[in-house]
């Protein structure tokens, strides 16, 4: 069901771990729905993301999208990192099953949440960055069978 890339990022996740005294940390998702992602950013004085790490509670796709998202934002400026969309994460992973698309949204949201935290801590405004939702599922209707 998963592409080889997804399986690769799931079995050998890149940048898994935490950054002590990170410039920004963002946690999104909730345990109720079965996925939580936390992104740590280390940002230098030129607003370049020097390092990025993640921790994720979730399915194979959740782990793979977190891993890929950290790869995509590492070395980028915060403005460039903002442009890393869930689409970009999915494409880089050669696609995701339809039921797992929300995982890529979660990854995008986690990056935004970490950037938001960085902006708050440093009293700066990042153009185009909105306050992240704490839970990407909050707008979704309950499923029925």
């Amino acid at each position: 069901m998963y592409s080889e890339k997804v399986m690769d990022h799931f079995s050998n996740p890149r940048n898994m771990g935490e950054i002590e005294d990170a410039s920004g940390v963002g946690t999104v998702g909730n345990a109720k729905c079965g996925d939580i992602m936390r992104i740590y950013l280390d940002i230098d004085e030129n607003h370049v993301i020097r390092d990025c790490k993640f921790k994720t509670f979730g399915c194979g796709a959740a782990v793979a999208t977190s891993s890929m998202a950290t790869e995509l934002v590492k070395g980028k400026t915060i403005e460039q990192a903002l442009e890393v969309t869930n689409q970009a994460v999915m494409e880089a992973l050669d696609g995701l099953p339809a039921v797992k698309v929300h995982c890529s949204l979660l990854a995008e949201e986690a990056i935004h949440a970490a950037l938001w935290d960085y902006a708050q801590k440093n009293g700066i405004e990042i153009k185009g960055l909105k306050k992240p939702k704490s839970d990407i599922h909050e707008d979704e209707p309950e499923e029925e069978y």
Partner: protein, 399 residues
């Protein structure tokens, strides 16, 4: 992580390996004795005899009468048939059905179907071990209750229900009692007379038989409508040319199941308890789901805190271990298993569940290997989990 070609199969509640004797029993009925059982000539009569023999054997295994066994294409069909046909046949008497909150979807979704057609359904709760709350069942009974359907054993957590007690209550009140015994038949003794069961569903592939065959036991005297129309097969109640190879395969599996049940069960139970003991001793922050003793011989179900089930399954698969989980990602919805929620697990604990279902083919060496891998994987996923990170930090603060 390295991939492995070795398979350790611990998902026998999903399906079992078809027994070699079942495969062998099936073979002649494809291209040697291929006659239609309804035909008059000898080739057909042989098919007919095989079907009758298997029917007789199944009846004997349940202490039922031969004419009370109806072959179906599996357990789900038997469940659908029992509920829909009973509702139709007894709909004039009443419109109320009682079931449990932890039934298989073949029952739950059929109940939803009947609700849309004017029936009322009460879903009785279970306790923390997954045992039906008998007092709640008694309270749920109304003058217009026509059917009680409660599974014999749960497919996820393996809990065995107090079937005799439920059967007695139903019989006393004159209410039909159906049980979905798909997980139990062939694994634990069942006596339909002693347990006051009016209808019982079973499936072939959960006990070493082929897929696509099952049966419904309908006690003589129960008024129940035909399910498939178009022929005299199965006493006119379930038309369609009989699947003779599958019936023969089921027969071989049933024969095996009832020949060595005691010995086999003892072996599987010992292996199950060994696995459970090692998990509890060696993996911290886990919880047994289901009743410790009133459970199916092969069922082991644990929740591992701070991790998610699908990730666990994929990693086990990389080591050749086949298992299942009640996490949302494996159920295809956002919610984890209704069974785990019904026994009171919070969502995040339910997401981290793992079901390992053993058979007599598993060995102690396999179990040892599984425990070793499970320890590594749970640890690895916890290292990856923000929930675990938060938990450890809190522990440190507490000192």
């Amino acid at each position: 992580m390295e991939k492995t070609d070795k398979i350790i199969y611990l998902d026998n509640a999903a399906t079992t390996r078809t027994l070699p004797e079942a495969v062998e029993a099936m073979l002649p009925w494809f291209s040697v004795q291929y006659g239609n059982a309804s035909s008059i000539y000898r080739l057909g009569a042989e098919s007919k005899k095989e079907i009758t023999d298997v029917r007789e054997m199944i009846a004997g295994s349940l202490k039922a009468k031969t004419q009370e066994i109806y072959f179906t294409a599996g357990g789900s069909e038997a469940d659908n048939w029992a509920l829909i046909a009973a509702a139709e046949a007894y709909g004039d008497k009443g419109r109320h059905i009682i079931t449990s909150a932890i039934e298989h979807h073949a029952i739950l979704h059929t109940c939803e179907y009947l609700k849309k057609r004017g029936f009322e359904v009460t879903f009785v709760d279970v306790d923390e071990q997954g045992i039906l709350k008998i007092e709640d069942l008694k309270k749920a009974i109304r003058p217009d209750t026509i059917l009680i359907t409660v599974m014999f054993a749960n497919n996820e957590i393996g809990t065995l229900q107090p079937i005799e007690e439920i059967g007695s209550i139903a019989r006393e009140k004159g209410i039909l009692f159906h049980t979905d015994a798909v997980q139990a038949y062939g694994h634990v003794p069942i006596d339909v007379e002693a347990l006051h069961i009016d209808m019982l569903s079973a499936s072939g592939h959960k006990l070493g038989g082929p897929k696509g065959i099952g049966f419904l036991y309908i006690r003589q005297g129960v008024k129940i409508r035909s399910f498939i129309h178009g022929g005299a097969q199965e006493r006119g109640r379930r038309a369609g040319t009989e699947n003779v190879p599958a019936v023969a395969g089921l027969g071989a599996a049933v024969k095996r199941a009832f020949t060595d049940m005691e010995e086999r069960t003892a072996k599987v139970c010992a292996l199950r308890d060994y696995l459970a003991e090692r998990i509890e001793k060696e993996i911290p922050y886990c919880r047994l789901n289901g009743h410790r003793t009133k459970r199916l011989p092969g069922n082991v179900n644990y929740s591992f805190q701070f991790i998610e089930g699908e990730s666990l399954l994929i990693m086990l698969d990389m080591h050749g271990i086949c298992a299942s989980s009640g996490s949302a990602c494996t159920s295809g919805s956002l919610d984890p298993s209704h069974v785990l929620l019904a026994i009171g697990l919070p969502h995040e604990i339910a997401h981290g569940s793992l079901r390992l279902t053993l058979s007599e083919e598993n060995t102690r060496e396999e179990i040892d290997y599984v425990v070793e891998k499970l320890k590594e994987i749970v640890d690895r996923l916890r290292q990856m989990s923000p929930l675990y990170e938060d938990f450890i930090k809190k522990q440190k603060v507490k000192g």
